[in-house]
């Protein structure tokens, strides 16, 4: 079901947390609300499920305005960060609870619970108690319980935050699989850009109660509209170089180094101050223009190494390259920047195109 936030506003007393937010989640889509902590993403989630009352604007499920509908009537499934399983009930009873509340008959409940448990691969755990399950299994149970009612929308609040690294990888693909198999519209709240990029159809990047950009993970990575968006996505993160436009080049501040502007952008006036966003994979390539610097840090990542290249003005470029034995700390290097793919921002952080 399509979910629409229309000029949605949320205040706590006099503090405005979300102001005039517009966001559309398409039918069957997995949308990530991504942002740093305190950006209002969880507030938005809890307002969609009805735990918080909206202070202004509308929330629409399909064509139904649910802004003033109680949580119980909204038909939303929520998976909480700590799973919130009912500790005194067996897994079966946990999953059956939403159906029991609906006064569905026992045979039907049994059928539905077994069907959903099979889909989520916990069919053999139904007799256990939540405390007897691992984190990943509890997560699956929470998913089951949220899905068993066939909600209009599934809300996931940091579902992977309490899992260890290996389980996180596993559950990432599991949640995606289950979401796709059920075809449910889902919203995932996360502060982890890797999670958002790897699982979701689209990402809404939020900061300070505003949605900065809504697009596909791929597009957001390659075409961020602001430097904040650019810095939020990508691991290791993007590096910024400050400078002034001189012809079709940028003269870096406090340095004689020049970096060519991408030919695709509209040429800014000479003397315009700009920020160049350089992703680690653009440094140390075989084309573009070379900059000289000193290797100030090497981080082993296994297949690749991450090198920090400190320029003569103190700015640091990151470079991710296949492991090479010819480079050591403190050594100078002259590496190419693939300037055609460098992102250019003005001093307000807006992308120059």
């Amino acid at each position: 079901m399509r979910i629409l936030l229309d000029k949605f506003t949320k205040k706590f007393d006099d503090t405005v947390v979300i102001n005039d937010m517009d966001l559309e989640i398409k039918d069957g889509e997995l949308m990530a609300l991504l942002g740093p902590s305190g950006c209002g993403k969880s507030t938005t989630l809890f307002s969609i499920c009805g735990i918080y009352q909206c202070s202004g604007g509308r929330i629409l499920f399909g064509d139904r305005d649910v802004s003033n509908v109680s949580s119980q009537q909204r038909n939303v499934g929520v998976v909480f960060q700590n799973y919130a399983l009912y500790p005194h009930m067996s897994i079966y009873e946990n999953i059956a609870f939403p159906l029991m509340v609906k006064k569905m008959d026992a045979a039907q409940i049994k059928k539905e619970v077994h069907a959903i448990a099979k889909l989520v691969h916990i069919g053999d755990l139904l007799e256990r108690r939540p405390s007897q399950l691992s984190g990943g299994q509890q997560q699956r149970v929470a998913l089951c319980r949220a899905l068993v009612r066939r909600p209009d929308v599934l809300l996931l609040d940091e579902p992977l935050a309490n899992l260890d690294a290996k389980l996180r990888l596993e559950m990432r693909s599991e949640i995606r699989r289950i979401q796709q198999e059920t075809g449910i519209t889902a919203i995932l709240v996360t502060h982890d850009q890797v999670e958002a990029m790897s699982m979701c159809d689209r990402i809404a990047l939020m900061d300070e109660g505003k949605v900065l950009q809504v697009t596909t993970p791929n597009d957001m990575y390659h075409n961020p509209q602001t430097d904040f968006v650019a810095s939020f996505l990508g691991n290791p993160p993007i590096a910024f170089l400050e400078g002034e436009v001189a012809g079709n080049q940028v003269l870096l501040n406090g340095s004689q180094l020049k970096v060519a502007l991408p030919s695709s952008i509209r040429q800014p006036d000479n003397g315009t101050k700009v920020r160049l966003g350089v992703r680690p994979e653009l440094v140390g390539t075989d084309r573009g223009n070379a900059v000289a610097g000193r290797i100030s840090f090497i981080e082993t990542q296994g297949r690749e190494n991450l090198y920090d290249l400190t320029l003569d003005n103190g700015a640091v470029l990151r470079s991710i390259q296949a492991v090479r034995s010819d480079i050591s700390m403190g050594q100078t290097a002259n590496w190419n920047i693939d300037t055609e793919r460098v992102l250019v921002f003005d001093t307000n952080g807006q992308r120059l195109l």
Binding site: C49, G50, I51, S71, Q72, V76, G77, V78, F80, Q81, N82, A84, Y86, P87, H88, F97, P98, V101, K102, R145, A146, R149
Partner: protein
């Protein structure tokens, strides 16, 4: 647990020291039991005859005195009705203070805490006047209300502590699953605070069972006497002084306490842990 703990020190010195210090109390308890079944020559420590005569109060009532069974029934009614009152109010009030965003919440919290520390005896005269005015003086109902009211701050505070340990996400999950607030409380929250409920129930019952001052002041008459008052009137009577009878009734009086305590001792410890899971 005791095995693991005793690994880094020897346990027998501790046992010996504790035994030595507990011995006087143990001897006293031993004599309490022994004396109720025996007679002892004056000046002797060793009993010389076995008898059930000290337990005669169970089947015969001395003239001018109320039957032990009436007093027991009164005590039972007093303790259990008071417990029921304390439980039902603490359960709901504790939830409200822990979860609901109600006006003057802080004021109520502070009030409960202050009343908890309030010495009962200072209220006696005022309560006496109130009971006289509403006509509940010398009735069990009256003293039940008073005892329950004085227990409530403690009960509410304890229950609030237990409610605080239930994560709010569980309630939110219940609401999302379509359950009403009442159903969430009843089906999801209540089962998790059950240890607290049991502990508070047993604790209130024991408090009621052993209460002396309030019934002595507010229900002194024979037909509404509770056991503690009955026992006190026995020792106050210097016409026929019977220490062994006094001991027997005393033993009769503490037996339910010991049984309850043995049954629920683990649960009672919860009350001081505030319900947190260890």
């Amino acid at each position: 647990m005791s095995n693991e703990n005793s690994r880094n020190f020897k346990s027998w010195p501790v046992t010996i020291i504790l035994t030595v210090f507990s011995l006087p109390i143990l001897v006293m308890y031993l004599y309490l039991v022994v004396d109720t079944f025996t007679n002892t020559e004056p000046g002797s420590l060793i009993p010389n005859e076995f008898t059930f005569e000290h337990w005669r109060f169970l089947w015969e009532t001395e003239p001018g005195r109320v039957s032990i069974w009436t007093a027991t029934l009164n005590t039972l009614i007093f303790a259990s009705v008071m417990t029921a009152l304390v439980l039902s109010v603490s359960l709901t009030a504790g939830y409200a203070l822990s979860r609901l965003n109600m006006p003057y919440r802080r004021f109520f919290l502070g009030g409960v805490l202050t009343l908890h520390a309030f010495p009962t005896v200072t209220l006696v005269i005022a309560l006496f006047i109130v009971l006289q005015m509403v006509g509940l003086y010398n009735t069990l109902i009256g003293v039940i209300f008073i005892k329950a009211a004085l227990m409530l701050p403690f009960g509410i505070w304890v229950m609030k502590g237990f409610y605080d340990t239930v994560p709010w996400e569980i309630e939110m999950a219940g609401v999302q699953d379509g359950a009403s607030r009442f159903m969430v409380w009843h089906k999801l929250v209540l089962p998790q605070i059950k240890p607290g409920l049991i502990a508070l129930g047993v604790f209130s019952f024991l408090e009621g069972w052993s209460e002396y001052v309030l019934p002595q002041i507010f229900t002194p008459d024979a037909d509404v006497q509770v056991l503690s008052v009955y026992l006190a009137s026995l020792i106050a009577d210097d016409q026929n002084f019977d220490f062994n009878l006094f001991k027997s009734i005393g033993l009769f009086y503490i037996m339910p306490v010991i049984v309850l305590y043995l049954l629920f001792q683990n649960k009672l410890m919860n009350i001081y842990g505030g319900g947190s899971k260890g």
